[in-house]
């Protein structure tokens, strides 16, 4: 005779298995899986948290009806053309490591069977991940990696929503030129010889070294003099010899491309070594994460950073104000260039899926190549989103643009970014020269 207890146990195991499988089988068609690769730990972890929160917020808005947000994706719950399918984000932490990023992308594609990818912040990681996406024919929409080379690989499965560093670095030199022409709000024309000498320190992976090259290139074009250009390791624990090397050439402007903790270390070392630049500019990333101001406080007053978003944008864009309020409720911080772009990146995914009306890679590819998103939809102050399908930059959004902000202390005593470029959007008088440390 059978042991009744044993058969009962068997039965319950069988029930359990069926119960576990059932929802999967029932709802499998109704979720869209996007694999998202961000640096959630490591030196850029604070940016990673921002990026993650930005993407999550966009997914929330896409998956629910939120009538008070004037965005197409807030009108429906889920993707309408896919029968209201909801978006699920699967986050992976690449720690800023390209090899790990590529491995995780493979895992997402092969094990998690994601329908698409997003990420990966660090240009070096994005490059590795884009190679994997290309190999497997899985669409990758990039939100915030700015090395120009990424869209110059001729890939068919890679699209980039953010403007790249060619745009941003040109903005910087347009800004410097504007300074000499008296176009900056609250500042008389500065003689060119006063801001002629530049020194740059960029981190030495894909992104920073590309920025260093662009600075040299545009300096030539705009006739500025790069006296010193150094590449340093973002994981360095000590930057004093780097800073001494910069100070030695007595630069008028110091330009930086730093990722995370290195930007804070750089500022502390500059202060320690009593650097006296007239202009201090950062290529966003480490210069605009909340930690930068939270840690350094008043030292940041007068620092310039390029970005694509700052809370002041909310004053001119009501939709940005709404989203910013939601973001602030979720995280306690305002949207930044990082989180706003992660938000926008996922928004692009929503629009592409809506347009594709299918989860077949070929349909998604076709939709991405022909998508046009109006500027009013976006939180970032761009004309819109439209990807290039020909020319030098394949898959690059051609309607993006950048801002340059300056940290200033408001009447409430809080340090915020004020817009100083484009000159027409300027929200405050520029502080010049940079206050002594």
């Amino acid at each position: 005779m059978k042991d009744p207890q044993k058969s009962l146990r068997r039965l319950s195991v069988a029930v359990l298995i069926v119960a576990l499988l059932l929802p999967g089988a029932l709802f499998a068609a109704e979720t869209i899986k996007i694999g998202v690769l961000f640096p959630l730990t490591g030196g850029a972890a604070s940016a990673g948290r921002e990026l993650r929160a930005g993407a999550e917020l966009a997914a929330d808005i896409a998956n629910n009806v939120m009538p008070d947000i004037k965005m197409a994706m807030a009108r429906n719950a889920g993707i309408k053309s896919l029968g209201g399918a909801k978006i699920t984000l699967i986050f992976k932490d690449h720690e800023g490591n390209p090899t790990l990023g590529a491995d995780l992308a493979k895992k997402l594609i092969l094990d998690d069977k994601v329908h698409g990818l997003m990420g990966a912040y660090h240009s070096a990681v994005t490059k590795a991940v884009s190679g994997v996406a290309e190999q497997y024919g899985v669409p990758l929409i990039n939100d915030s990696s700015t090395s120009p080379d990424l869209t110059r690989q001729g890939y068919k499965w890679f699209w980039r929503a953010t403007p790249h560093d060619n745009y941003f670095t040109k903005d910087l030199f347009e800004f410097l030129k504007g300074m000499t022409e008296g176009k900056v709000k609250g500042l008389a024309a500065v003689p060119k010889k006063d801001i002629m000498n530049l020194a740059a320190a960029c981190e030495k992976t894909e992104w920073g070294s590309a920025v260093a090259e662009l600075i040299e290139k545009f300096a030539k074009e705009y006739r500025f003099d790069v006296k010193r250009s150094i590449l340093y390791g973002a994981k360095a624990t000590d930057l004093s010899s780097e800073v001494r090397s910069l100070i030695a050439v007595k630069p008028d402007a110091m330009l930086f491309a730093s990722y995370g903790s290195d930007s804070i270390l750089m500022m502390k070392t500059l202060k320690d070594q009593r650097a006296q630049p007239k202009i201090l500019w950062g290529q966003n990333a480490g210069f605009e994460v909340p930690e930068f101001v939270n840690t350094l406080g008043d030292t940041t007053i007068g620092v310039l950073t390029r970005t694509v978003f700052m809370p002041k944008v909310s004053q001119v864009k009501p939709v940005a104000a709404k989203v910013n309020a939601l973001y602030k409720a979720k995280t306690g911080n305002d949207l930044s260039g990082a989180s706003a772009r992660a938000f926008t990146g996922l928004q692009v995914w929503v629009h592409v899926l809506e347009k594709a009306g299918s989860l077949k890679p070929a349909d998604i590819q076709k939709a991405a190549n022909s998508i046009e998103i109006a500027g009013e939809e976006l939180v970032v102050p761009w004309q819109g989103i439209k990807f290039a399908t020909t020319g030098e930059d394949i898959g690059q959004n051609i309607l993006g643009s950048g801002l340059i902000g300056q940290y200033q202390k408001g009447p409430s005593g809080k340090i915020d970014l004020e817009i100083v470029y484009p000159f027409a959007l300027a929200t405050s008088n520029m502080i010049y020269p940079f206050p002594k440390f």
């Binding site: 730990t41 150094i230 390791g233 624990t237 010899s241 001494r244 090397s245």
Partner: protein, 304 residues
């Protein structure tokens, strides 16, 4: 000219810090012939101890030094009594792999408890302070304090080894363990003491370094490598050797500064295009390689 002075001074200061980092490694090697691969991880523990004590109590990070020393001493003894002691019975390779394993364990424990994020001290009596002493030399208060403490620690360890009975017992153990045991020296306890002192000096160094360097669980490796170079140059087991070698390695790290000096003084165009700074640590490894090639025993090495 300014950059020359600044680089020399900075090299000497950093050199003293590096010497302090290497002190523990050379003591342990001197007494026991064990190369401790986990040395950098001990330093990392010291950094976290300094950081967390300062943050938890709100005290100045300088007051965390005794805590770090106690933690380091205890950690050294614990590692010896709970692990290294048993390795001594095995062949040399087991000892090497054993301390290598210890390194991985400590690093991953740090990852588990503290996460992989960079952490740094932003407040403290010395943090962010610096003095302009003229001629382009700017002394950072934290580095100066670390250098002074490095000299004090070296003095204390030198006195301990050369002027006390315990020191004589340590030296005897180092020279001839069996002979020392016949003379009634408790060699087992001497070994333990060497690990304790070694651990304490390096965690003190860590608690000081965290005043100006940020810490992650991975920070140990670079310091292990530098400490190896210092010890190899100074001679394995030599305390004064470690001090002078520290200074030399500190100056080697400033090679990019000297390069800048030459380039700016003599206005040599092509020199500006050489990315010396990107290879700042490379010179240390080059030096290590050269030392091993020319004089495997180092400057002051006395052990066969």
């Amino acid at each position: 000219m300014d950059i020359l002075f600044a680089s020399i001074v900075s090299g000497v200061l950093i050199g003293m810090v590096l010497a302090l980092v290497a002190l523990g490694l050379t003591i342990i090697f001197g007494v026991m012939d064990i190369v401790n691969f986990a040395h950098g991880e001990f330093l990392m523990v010291g950094m976290y101890t300094g950081l967390l004590t300062a943050q938890a109590t709100g005290m100045d990070p300088l007051f965390a030094l005794p805590v770090a020393a106690a933690v380091g001493f205890a950690l050294g003894i614990l590692c010896y009594a709970g692990f290294i002691k048993f390795l001594l019975r095995g062949p040399m390779i087991a000892q090497l792999l054993g301390t290598f394993g210890l390194m991985l364990v400590l690093r991953n424990l740090a990852l588990l408890f503290f996460g992989s994020e960079d952490r740094a001290l932003h407040h403290g009596l010395l943090v962010g302070k610096s003095f302009d002493v003229g001629m382009g030399v700017i002394l950072s208060a934290t580095k100066l304090a670390t250098a002074v403490l490095s000299i004090l620690s070296f003095g204390a360890v030198w006195l301990l080894i050369n002027r006390t009975r315990i020191g004589k017992a340590l030296t005897a153990t180092a020279l001839n363990r069996q002979g020392a045991r016949y003379m009634g020296i408790p060699t087992e306890r001497m070994n333990m003491l060497a690990w304790g002192i070694g651990g304490a000096t390096v965690t003190i160094a860590g608690a000081l370094i965290v005043n100006f360097w940020s810490v992650t669980p991975y920070v140990g490796l670079i310091f292990t490598m530098i400490a190896f170079t210092v010890v190899a140059l100074g001679g394995f087991g030599s305390v004064p050797g470690a001090f002078f070698a520290g200074l030399v390695v500190g100056l080697i790290m400033e090679i990019p500064g000297f390069w800048d000096f030459l380039q700016l003084t003599f206005r040599i165009g092509w020199m500006a295009d050489v990315p010396m700074i990107s290879f700042k640590y490379t010179w240390i490894y080059v030096a290590y390689f050269v030392i091993m090639l020319i004089s495997p025993r180092g400057l002051f090495g006395w052990k066969q």
